[in-house]
């Protein structure tokens, strides 16, 4: 398990909120934030099977003379050692590579579009690509700094959902916070989900870490989301289904993020399940 969280710093009020979220997350789950202060609006992230070019919104380059000072100040206030990432490799002279060997990455809902566009229901295409390609979970922060005091995992039985659940156990163990699990009963019974847990030998962890397993019974996912505590870190899997199913039915993660303001920790399809075993 890598103990670092990558944060791309935007030297603006919105960037401050996002960095505060990253700092709070880092302190709760004992990881070290690594801050990248971009010097150009584009950089590349090479993942296992994809390369993603991040074209940053111009506000990331605002007041470069004070960026380092602002980021350092926020980190030092939180008693965290300021650690800044300097790109070592360049695909082209103006195109740095940012390595992807991190435990987590923190992002606002969009990093390529103007901050005025960022709101509920909108996830930028680059953030989506990062989630799909990354081997680490991505922390999508709420628009304003909000401390979370419990963890809520959305569990639907898919491979990604199991990964999210295991990550939830891990976060609960490290932070000591309350963990709730939410399952939307679509066409299946409550027992079938319990059987899935039994089949994966996760009963012990469920009883050890989970406070309440909520079964959401209303048909529409959005109608159930009021049940989720407003101050919970929501952990959920995303883009685990193949292209066609996502195309026809849409992504549940996108529906959830469009409805709630919570901080989201998203587990993409390439997040390796071994991370849980290695860390526990």
């Amino acid at each position: 398990m890598n103990h670092q969280l990558l944060h791309i710093f935007r030297n603006s009020p919105l960037g401050r909120e996002t960095l505060l979220q990253s700092i709070y997350f880092s302190r709760q789950i004992e990881v070290s934030p690594v801050i990248y202060i971009p010097k150009s609006t584009k950089f590349l992230m090479y993942f296992e099977n994809d390369v993603v070019q991040i074209d940053l919104d111009a506000s990331y380059l605002m007041s470069p003379d004070t960026a380092l000072e602002h980021a350092t100040e926020l980190l030092e206030k939180a008693d965290l050692e300021p650690k800044f990432l300097e790109p070592k490799h360049y695909t082209a002279s103006t195109l740095p590579d940012i390595h992807t060997d991190f435990g987590y990455m923190s992002c606002p809902r969009s990093i390529s579009s103007l901050s005025s566009k960022i709101g509920l229901g909108y996830i930028g295409p680059r953030v989506r690509r990062i989630v799909k390609s990354a081997q680490f979970p991505v922390l999508i922060t709420s628009p304003v700094y909000k401390e979370w005091e419990s963890i809520a995992v959305f569990f639907g039985g898919s491979v990604n959902a199991f990964n999210a659940l295991k990550l939830g156990f891990q976060l609960c163990r490290i932070s000591g916070m309350r963990l709730d699990v939410f399952t939307l009963l679509e066409n299946k019974s409550q027992e079938s989900y319990e059987k899935l847990i039994t089949d994966k030998n996760l009963e012990t962890e469920m009883s050890r870490y989970v406070n309440t397993w909520h079964f959401l019974r209303k048909k529409a996912l959005e109608k159930n989301l009021y049940e989720v505590p407003h101050n919970a870190l929501v952990v959920l899997g995303a883009y685990g289904h193949h292209l066609l199913k996502n195309f026809v039915f849409g992504s549940k993660m996108e529906k959830i993020q469009a409805t709630i303001f919570n901080n989201l920790l998203i587990v993409g399809p390439n997040y390796p399940a071994e991370s849980y075993r290695a860390a526990s």
Partner: protein
Amino acid sequence: MRIFQSWRYPANWTIFRLDDRLLLILMAIIVGSFSGIASVVLNRSIVTIFGWLHHFRHYWWAFVLPGIGAALSSLFLDKIVKEGAGHGVPEVIYSVSRYGGLLRFRSSFSRIISSALTIGSGGSAGPEAPVVISGASIGSNIAKYFSLNDRQRVALVGCGAAGAISSIFNAPIAGMVFAIEVILGEWKSVNIVPIAISAVAGTEISRILQGNQIAFSHRLFSISHMDIVACVGLAVLTAAASILLTRLLRSMHVISKKLPTPVWLRAAIGGCAVGLIGLFLPVVLGEGYHSVQAMIDGVFLQGFAIVGLGTLAKIVATALTLGWGGAGGIFAPCLVIGSLAGLTYHHGLALLWPSVSWVNEGCFALLGMAGLISGMLQAPLTGIFLIVEITGGYEVILPLIIVSTISTSLCHYIEPASYYLKELVERGHFLRPGTDARVLSDLNVSELIEKDCIAVTQNMLLRDFISIVKKSHRNYFPVENEKTGHFMGIIHLDDIRPYLFNPVMYDAVFLGQIMNTRVDIVNLDDELADVIRKMDANHLFSMPVVVNNRFIGLISKGNLLDQYRKELMVQTSQLM
């Protein structure tokens, strides 16, 4: 749904599980065909844009046309697709070296559009390098779509490059040799077969869509011994031209970067300068293949001075186009400069020794092209096969070999890295398979950490520590702060040896007194080459990995060399 899913993972199909080379062959056909189409599209676009603008070339203001084209090309690359300028071949080699051939999807079309604008408007550049990055990107993205592994992806990147070069020159062997010699840098049968097939596919697509034509046909040359001896001088001249072009291209980059203007304006300035040169010497404009054909046919009727001046002008024009931000490659300019250099040399020989019956000047033009390509790319086989194929002139193979090899050797002596590799070598990014740097770059600190270390605290007595040592099989013990868990130092078994046989000291010595606090630590993002350098310099066998003041594990030389050997075996295995 399942059918759809399995379609994305052909490596799991029964037929390909038997032998994954079959999978690569199938993919090579697909990649070669798409690369071939990309080449044809670029070729037709250049011809079309050049044709549209041809009517305006006689106006006095026509010199701005290459400037406008270069500016549009730069704006397109910078603002729309957000890619840097340049021809992209170093990017392909870099991605093959470091990231298993991962290339952005946008690269599959961006350079086609931008170089069509640059070259079509009259910029002095070639379409070959842009189609190489397009083909390579097509290969990389097809490999990504079908979830192929790194080795297969690299092979498909090579296939894309081979298909593209084969298609644009109608030269399958040159495409194949270029992909292996320049892009991949390794001659493995597992790569050669798909690359050869891709080259055939690319060539066939080009022949279907554009007809089977030799780019520069010529009549038979009757080469004497005197001509072969004279080739040595031509090799020296082409080597000098290659060095001049390489250095001028780089210095133009440096000069243009210093200008406090937007990149599109720099490209426009470079383009306009080329346009101005083109008003007096039209041979410098565009890809210049008509002039090459005229020189090979022996109907380029300019004298020694004009041809010599043309050579220099084309070198300057190419440096202005590419160095100031235009998009395009150096293959076509090399062919033009090489043929002009060959012609100049022939005219020089005829002036000096008028009584000798030298071979037709077209032969020297053809040899000059090989000399320039070989010198610039430092890839003699590519130079030889390309010229043989695009001219159909197998009878010139002996002087071709002489010119290519001497030119390559001279250029390598003066400029150890070729034009494509120079920047990569300077940045330490040129990592060919099986080399020390490549093996180390494929490993990282986090995969080498050994976590079975027992942490101790500074207030622990030696007696307690000895009982821990009995249980551990390690020689190093990290010391952590009791309250914060922060890493404070390390104890090696050698540190307790002076006290080991004196039991009186067991309850008198605290670990805080004997621990080593001045320890070189490793961060997770440190380069392994740096780690091993530190170990060698300080005679260390293990180093602690510390993140945010917390001890994560140890990295040991033994484990590192063990992994190094495994990685080296993977990279150098002929079966892979």
